[in-house]
Symmetry: none
Subunit: 204 residues, 4 copies
DNA sequence: AATTAATCGAGACGGTACGTCTCGTCTTGGT
DNA sequence: ACCAAGACGAGACGTACCGTCTCGATTAATT
């Protein structure tokens, strides 16, 4: 009795609007309550959805928050500002702006903390957030190379290692500045950091 | 009438042994259960202490974990290995080793996450962990200066800013590498990172 | 749109079996532990029910015990033994037998004590126990009147007052004998009490 | 080397004022909080005394409340009003007045309830309250006999049984009226009850 | 006057139960 | 087959008292 070709199963299809509403409700709850006081019952209520609907789509709080937060980082862009230094400053500035938003601050570190004991969650974070944003480093480098600010690529493996290192340094420094040291990543700080990073890159 | 100057307060004094037992039990619970499944009732039971004793001394789970984790970082030393590069590699290596221990991994990020919504907790982390370990940066720099590897100090304010920046970069990069990217900070990575950092420092 | 008239409310309906199990468990706990050592957690465990289920249905220990004890008194019957004296002796004997059971002894006085400071509880006791059993007095009187042992009813208000008085005297005397004086209400005592009561009734 | 005859032990003697203060504080707490919310810590604080002092003198809450309540019933008097009926009405009225006071209402029934599972407490209640007040029945009867309202005593054992019965009926009826039926034992009720009681007594 | 010993206040201690909250699952009837 | 509603078993939360225990400080009677 299966009419269509693919497994378009019978019965009422899942509401597409529900996913959007749930993720938005999750971010709203993160803003108001923070991660530890966020409850799935509350998210369901905000989204106008039953708890069962929520559990049907996400295994639990951690995975839900990862998805809700991941969307925030997709806003990052790498605008061409003419020089490598300016490009780096621009993207760092955008990154700092996202980390200044409470829904990101609260959620991101919490799921990272949880991920230290949950391999599946770690993988989810890596694929949804980390690897997804490494595009910025790769793109930035190739653009700098086109401008002649960096020497042409040599060993691809070495290339990957350097990209990973740069990503850890950039993301780590901004996160540590804003969340651990709890001081603003303002323009002065960003300029200082960029000078240090590019200096290191030229030497290495 | 109170005879003495300060309040050698009346009543039975608090047991000093209890504090030690509680912090050790907290670390043990972090290893076994991780932050989110750690319960204060369980910690109390492990420490052979009543829940009330625990609540009498710490306001809650977050503050307890901060204190339990802070002690771990006091193990950090800055041994003189003859050159700035070797010194940095040494301390980064120790730092990475601590972050490889599950009681640190689980606890540290979680309290940072909580601190995004709790000013008092943020201050506790800062004074117990962050500021406390900046000593390493200061000491390393002065040692390098004595060796002539760095120019003598000029502006003290500028000096402080640089120390903060270096601390954010070092701590942030190692944390991001081990917890977010979830890859080991092995000797290869440490050498690469140190080269980048020192290159940047010389330029800046 | 709600189709039916009254709120056949949505959601899973409450388990009817739980109520029965909880009241039985309450009586069992009263027998073993008495009122003051009875805990709602223990009752829930005995009934194979979660604490929340219990709190969803009763506001607290007092109300639960009232309901558990009230059922005991519904066993009282007024068998026709041929004369008013024999009827009274019969029902007093049954009443004494109930008060000899530990689940009644423990619970009844305790909730009466609590009710001195809780109007709602007082009303609950009155409707579930006191007024409910006054039927025995009314029925006994009408039966005696049919036999010609008592004069026909005159003033209905006066009638009600007398019924209340008789109920207080009978219930009070038996309770005081068994619980305060703490001596058994055996056949000798019951005969003596019945003679005194009926003597007074004929005069009054 | 004990000099004196009795064991007048050395050391600081117990404060006599403390007992008075504690019993008064207990009654005050009964009025404000009732039995179930009365805590020994609170009583100690009201009495300006340490908890240890209180536990040194009473085994627990129940015994303390018995002693605090027992003093209330010592106020009962049997004034000579000229006839048995008037005497009974007088003492019943006093008894009802005491039971109208919250410190008696709250405490009395609670300790009776507790006593159903505590033999030592039951004995304490009996000796401090019940037997102590049976004097009223004995005195009332002998006075009535002197007036010729009752026949002279015959069998002493039978005499004791009757006194017990009368005490149970009087105390039980008043308690039941005021605490269980929770209606006032006003003059109308007292007159009705006295008529019933004396009618029964003359017949029996 | 010095000694002795039980009392006193204060308050921390190991326990236990409280009543509430959230979890993730399981029934309902309705769409 | 999906949905909203809401009851369910489970178990941690942070608080309140329990009755006991250490403290140093009093306070009389005995030396």
């Amino acid at each position: 009795m299966q009419s269509s070709t693919r497994g378009r199963s019978a019965g009422r299809p899942r509401s597409a609007a529900a996913d959007t509403a749930i993720l938005a409700a999750t971010r709203a709850a993160l803003v108001e309550l923070g991660w530890s006081k966020l409850t799935l019952g509350d998210v369901a209520a905000r989204a106008g959805v039953a708890k069962t609907t929520l559990y049907r789509r996400w295994p639990g709080k951690n995975e839900l928050v990862v998805d809700a937060v991941a969307e925030l980082f997709d806003e990052l862009r790498l605008p061409d500002r003419g020089s490598l230094a300016a490009d780096v400053e621009g993207v760092v500035s955008q990154f700092a702006a996202i980390l200044a938003r409470p829904e990101a601050r609260s959620g991101l570190m919490a799921v990272v903390a949880e991920s230290t004991r949950d391999e599946a969650l770690r993988e989810r974070i890596r694929s949804s957030i980390v690897e997804r944003q490494k595009r910025l480093v790769v793109e930035g480098k190739s653009r700098a190379r086109a401008r002649g600010e960096l020497p042409p690529q040599t060993d691809p493996a070495e290339e990957g290692r350097t990209a990973d290192l740069v990503f850890d340094v950039v993301a780590g420094a901004v996160v540590h500045r804003t969340l651990v040291s709890a001081e603003p990543a303002d323009d002065t700080w960003i300029r200082g950091f960029t000078r240090l990073l590019l200096g290191g890159l030229r030497e290495a």
